[in-house]
Amino acid sequence: MFEYALSVMIFLPILAGVAMFLFPISRGASRIAGLIVSLIILLMGVEMFLGFTGTGGMEYLEHRPWVESLGISYGLGVDGISLLVLMTGAILFPMVFAIFTTQSKGYYANLLIAQGAMIGAICATDLVLFYIFWEVMLLPIFFMIGIYGGPKRLPATLKITIYTIAGSLLMLAALVYVGVSYHNQFGKWSFDIVQLSALDLGGGFAILAFLMFMVAFAIKIPLFPFHTWLPDAYTEAPTATTFVLSAIMAKIGVYGVIRFVVPVFEIEFARFAILLSLAGVTGMMYCGLAAIAQKDMKRMLAFSSASHMGIIALGVFCMNVQALTGSLFQIAAHATSTGVLFLFVGLMEERMGTREIGDLGGIAYRAPIFATFFAIAMLASVGLPGTSGFIGEFLIILGAIKFNGFIGFLAGTSLIIGVCYMLWMFQRVFFEKTNDRTIEFQDLKVSEILTFLPVIILIIAMGIFPQTFIKKIEPAAQLQVAKVYAMTQSQVAETKVPTPGHNNHKN
């Protein structure tokens, strides 16, 4: 039965979501249905995680030809690289359905479709299939921000949509270029990522294609300077959408770089690694500084999320096992911590009708459990030892120093910025004087405690027993690094660049 587990995990939520649109069922029923579906996915995800052997290869493979004349196949699989990303997509969703009880049917349906499409993008081993899911996952986000978002939702929706679609269409052209190059070199069509990694690309078009891929992923991550859509979209989106965007969708951008860009464009990647890692560090610092200045909690978290994505991306660009493992670990850690923080802010907004930091204060006295949970998630996001955030960031900084001392130094110091905005915000919101608004604040209900508790435990568990997770991802990371990063920078600099027209002999 587990043979088709991945297909079920993709299409069960999508079909459930489409069915919700088509049939007139009530709001409550659609929420329950969504909760049940997401719990099934959660259980399947846990089962998959436990059954995952972690030998470095693809597991739970599914492969079926789809468009044979162009070598496009329906190929799914999970390896150490995608495992934790898949887990974040699979296990965090029930929280959303459990907490937000008052939304409309379309909201829940869109959430389910987004989940299915994201899992599809994570599991796809075929470039075209990946692209299809990658585009499909944008649509529910578009509708959710546009229909259920805040007062300035229209500009925010347009911004995120045009940005991402522009990126993806460029990627489409690059993707086709890769496929055609494969056809020219090997005489047959294939978009399978394992086979594409055998490609030997070079010349101007390869760099152009590489940049097109990188722009698409940089927009989704978002990597500095492509981050300008993020604050608006995250702030205006309804909480669940922000949660989906920050906890999972942004991670798929990083994952896409590791899975699809690095194996195909080894040389170009090595050549641009310094530049890209500088972009990562700059984004980290810039968004961190911007976060300090925010008055709106959600907007602050949005900038904080962008800042953290900078460090995760940096881990990928450092091209060594430590940093890559750290990035993959941090993907899960950041999803749990920042994702939960966004949900907490959503709860506060629901209860008090505001998320201005200045309007709040003294919540810790009224709601100690809520404050404790919030503090744990916040400290994990800051990277306190003993929480999940520490392990990932430590590994990334370690790798960064190994890669380039200066960049490692910059990354290490800019972590302090994160502490600044987070603790300052915590002080203003949870301590200081209670005011009229916060005096009424209700602590978490039992059902809410039960919803959040597993994730809070997970945050601590990932911090104390990281080896459970790392041993599943490390073999794949090593394999990836061994395959791809075999060349050092100096070697790349000395490689003879094939003359343009090497692959496109017809040009």
Binding site: I132, T161, A166, G179
Partner: protein, 469 residues
């Protein structure tokens, strides 16, 4: 026997057209019955076309027609698209003319004659028969465009279209004459033989081919012959516009591709010309479309952009091993999306097409969620978002362009489709993110609604099972 079967769909449609023409002499027969009759004939012809299928390229009745008509997989696919377009147009016309009462029985008859011309055009492999087919099609379309004689915009549309179309026809004859002057033949195969034994850079041949290109480019509304299309699409009734935008474009592009593909030398000589035409068509169309506030005018302009994408496909065809699969697929993908949206407009437009602008469709999703969802699917297909047919079409076009070494053209096509997102998204935003001011009451028969949802299924079916390629 196979020749006859390949020819049969054309005969069925022709018989249907004549039958309807005769029936319209009877007063008792209502317009609605005519629409059912034409649907029946289109359906039967579609079915025959599908069952007969087609093997490799064959000359139809080679002894009688002397190789003027050739059928192949490509023409079969084009025939299927045209017949499908006819079927769905008859369906939406049925609903449309329940509300807008200017229809007579001859409408359907003329539509079927137009379809005859189109089917003939796809199979024509000889310039004079192509011209005859082109004129059968065009004359019928002129009448359809101006069918509502009381409507001023329709009158304006037919005047513009007729005048300019007559010029295009004249150019075509001129081109034919010049090519005959050079090669002493009008058959594609013989012209190709002449080119391969002599050369394509014969002054007469170049001028002749140029004039023929002008006629084709005019018919598909490519730059710089695209200006008429906005007013004509706007003036014609919604089902007619849908029929023109899809079936006519299919027929002309098929004969265009056949003409280009007849000789490798001819194709390679004209690549640069077509390259620029295609780029300007895409970007010119986008510029026009972005400024429109009327839905039909926007769709007309987006049709120009799609012609540009199809021209990419024409640049990229390999003349020595021509199958036309990419162009055929794209035409099918484009046809289902466009037909669908015009079918939706046919029943949502209301009396005298009072709902025409972007503003009028504000809040449609709140009142008619299913219709809004269907329109969204069609728009996403036209924009090329997966998993719709439009995405696969665009994917094949880009693949064929890069395979042919036209990377720059592929990238420009992609940039143009980024631009086009704006006006497709604009309608979706209007439908979903605003509150409804209109009640969107629907009068008339449910056939157009049924057609719309059938086309939604087609969009996904063609996208997920791209069998043509």
């Amino acid at each position: 026997m196979h020749d006859f079967l390949s020819f049969l769909p054309l005969l069925i449609i022709c018989a249907g057209a004549i039958l309807l023409m005769l029936l319209s002499a009877f007063e008792k027969i209502q317009v609605e019955i005519a629409s059912f009759v034409s649907m029946g004939f289109f359906g039967a012809a579609f079915f025959v076309q599908l069952v007969v299928g087609c093997g490799p390229e064959t000359e139809l009745f080679a002894k009688v027609f002397n190789g003027m008509l050739v059928s192949s997989n490509f023409t079969m696919v084009a025939g299927l698209i045209i017949l499908g377009c006819g079927f769905f147009t008859a369906m939406s016309a049925n609903s449309y003319f329940k509300v807008n009462l200017f229809c007579t029985l001859e409408f359907y008859s003329i539509m079927m004659f137009a379809a005859c011309g189109m089917l003939l055009l796809t199979m024509a492999q000889e310039l004079i028969s192509a011209f005859i087919a082109l004129e059968i099609m065009s004359l019928a379309i002129y009448i359809l465009v101006g069918y509502d004689r009381a409507n001023v915009t329709a009158t304006e549309a037919i005047l513009k279209y007729l005048m300019l179309g007559a010029f295009a026809g004249a150019f075509f004859t001129m081109g034919t004459a010049l090519i005959y002057g050079a090669a002493a033949t009008t058959k594609f195969a013989s012209i190709a033989a002449f080119i391969s034994s002599n050369s394509a850079s014969n002054a007469l041949l170049i001028a002749g081919a140029f004039f023929i290109f002008v006629a084709f480019l005019f018919k598909v509304a490519a730059f710089p012959f695209h200006a008429w299309v906005i007013d004509v699409y706007d003036g014609a009734a919604a089902p007619v516009t849908g029929f023109m935008a899809t079936a006519l474009k299919t027929a002309v592009f098929v004969v265009f591709a056949n003409f280009l593909a007849m000789s490798v030398d001819l194709h390679s000589d004209w690549i640069t010309f077509l390259f620029y035409v295609s780029v300007f068509t895409m970007f010119g169309g986008n510029l026009v479309a972005i400024g429109q506030s009327n839905l039909k005018r926007m769709l007309a302009a987006s049709g120009i952009v799609h012609s540009g994408y199809l021209l990419i496909g024409l640049v990229a065809i390999s003349a020595d091993n021509f199958t036309g699969s990419v162009i055929g697929y794209y035409l099918a993908a484009y046809a289902v999306g466009t037909l669908g949206i015009f079918a939706a407009l046919s029943y949502l437009g209301g009396e005298g097409e009072k709902r025409a602008s972007f503003e009028d469709f504000k809040g449609l999703a709140k009142v008619r969620p299913y219709s809004a969802a269907a329109i969204t699917v069609f728009l996403l297909s036209m924009a090329g978002i997966p998993p719709t047919a439009g995405f696969m079409g665009k994917f094949y076009i880009i693949t064929s362009a890069i395979s042919a070494g036209q990377t720059a053209l592929a990238v420009l096509g992609v940039v143009s489709s980024i631009l086009s997102m704006w006006y497709y998204l604009r309608l979706i935003i209007n439908m979903y993110f605003h509150d409804a001011e209109d009640s969107f009451e629907i009068k008339g028969s449910p056939l157009a609604i049924g057609g719309t949802f059938a086309l939604v299924i087609c969009v996904f079916a063609i996208g997920l099972y791209p069998i043509v390629i």
